[in-house]
């Protein structure tokens, strides 16, 4: 997939940072304001999808390779499970909020509510990486008409 025109590229260069930052903001204030890991992760994935659409697949994959996205995806899921297992170990329950029980932070502050921000970050990582991966896979596919009249999916040619 090739990139778009120079106008789109210039706008993308300015806008992508703000989309990314907004995603991070949604994730880390998920326990204080509307939002959370899922929404923030989708917004971060949006910034990478914008990059892929504007500059082409190869450029975006150089920024975040599919292997790195794999690892981010898996590590997000693992982090979420590790938080849950720590709750099992120290609080006695799977998903027990052990940090809040021991060190309750000030209410309405960024460092409060124990494991919830950590879980938010884990979910955000996971959602962002998996949506980006799905997009990269789908972006190289096209549905075209075969000779016998049926539709089939092909990989897009690079030199288009």
């Amino acid at each position: 997939m090739k990139g778009m025109t120079v106008i789109v590229k210039t706008v993308t260069r300015w806008v992508k940072v703000f989309i990314f930052l907004y995603g991070i903001y949604i994730i880390i204030t998920g326990h204080l304001a509307p939002g959370g890991g899922f929404a923030g992760g989708v917004i971060i994935a949006c910034s990478y999808i914008l990059l892929t659409l504007a500059y082409g697949k190869d450029f975006a994959l150089r920024r975040l390779g599919s292997r790195a996205a794999h690892h981010l995806d898996s590590s997000g899921a693992l982090l979420f499970l590790v938080v849950a297992l720590f709750g099992l170990g120290s609080g006695g329950l799977f998903f027990a909020n052990f940090l809040q029980n021991r060190y309750p932070g000030a209410e309405f502050s960024l460092l409060s509510s124990g494991t919830i921000p950590i879980s938010n970050i884990a979910i955000g990582l996971k959602v962002a990486a998996s949506l980006f991966l799905i997009f990269v896979i789908l972006a190289v596919l096209r549905i075209v008409l075969a000779e016998d009249g049926s539709q089939k999916m092909i990989q897009e040619e690079e030199e288009e």
Partner: protein
């Protein structure tokens, strides 16, 4: 009546959008109508005072639109065509009418809009979450405290579903793309 009026207008808009999305012949128009439905739904969530859902809905809708346009709109996709089965259409209309009349009487038996039954039961878990959520979890956003503390199992299941979806997409759609990327390295 204020919010209900806006919601009614939005619902009519959503239903019209859904009909357009199903009935239009052009695949791109169908996808765009689907996007209009999604954005209308997110405004409906805002009217229902669910900003968390509205944010998720609008973000997912944008990504979904891009996915659909990229994945389904090819150069040579033939427009959907077909003829109408009148008997099937009549049966569907009858079933829908029955469903709506049943729903009308079911909703008549419920409480007023905005005063859920669960608020009248003191022992309901949601009352406990609302009263003690901030103290027990420390999270000012009660939705997040329910999602990631009280009902974290649900979130774990949701994350598992997403993981399985990515695994399935990778397994089904690899093939040449994968071997090509392997060759580059």
């Amino acid at each position: 009546m204020g919010i209900e009026l806006y919601l009614l207008i939005l619902l009519v808009f959503l239903i019209v959008g859904a009909i357009v999305a199903v009935e239009t012949k052009n695949l791109l128009s169908s996808v765009i109508a689907l996007g209009a439905i999604g954005f209308g739904l997110s405004i409906a969530f805002l009217f229902l005072r669910a900003p968390d859902l509205a944010i998720v809905q609008i973000a997912v809708e944008v990504v979904l639109l891009i996915f659909l346009i990229r994945a389904t709109i090819g150069r040579d996709v033939i427009p959907a065509k077909g003829h109408i089965h009148w008997a099937g259409l009549a049966i569907v209309c009858l079933l829908t009418a029955g469903f709506f009349s049943f729903g009308y009487f079911a909703f008549r038996s419920l409480n007023e809009f905005g005063s859920p039954i669960i608020a009248a039961v003191d022992a309901a878990p949601s009352n406990k979450y609302l009263a003690d959520g901030l103290k027990q979890t420390g999270s000012a956003n009660i939705v997040t405290s329910v999602l990631l503390d009280y009902r974290a199992y649900d979130t774990l299941g949701e994350a598992t579903v997403l993981f399985a979806a990515v695994l399935g997409a990778l397994a089904v759609l690899r093939g040449r793309a994968w071997s090509k990327r392997g060759k580059d390295k």
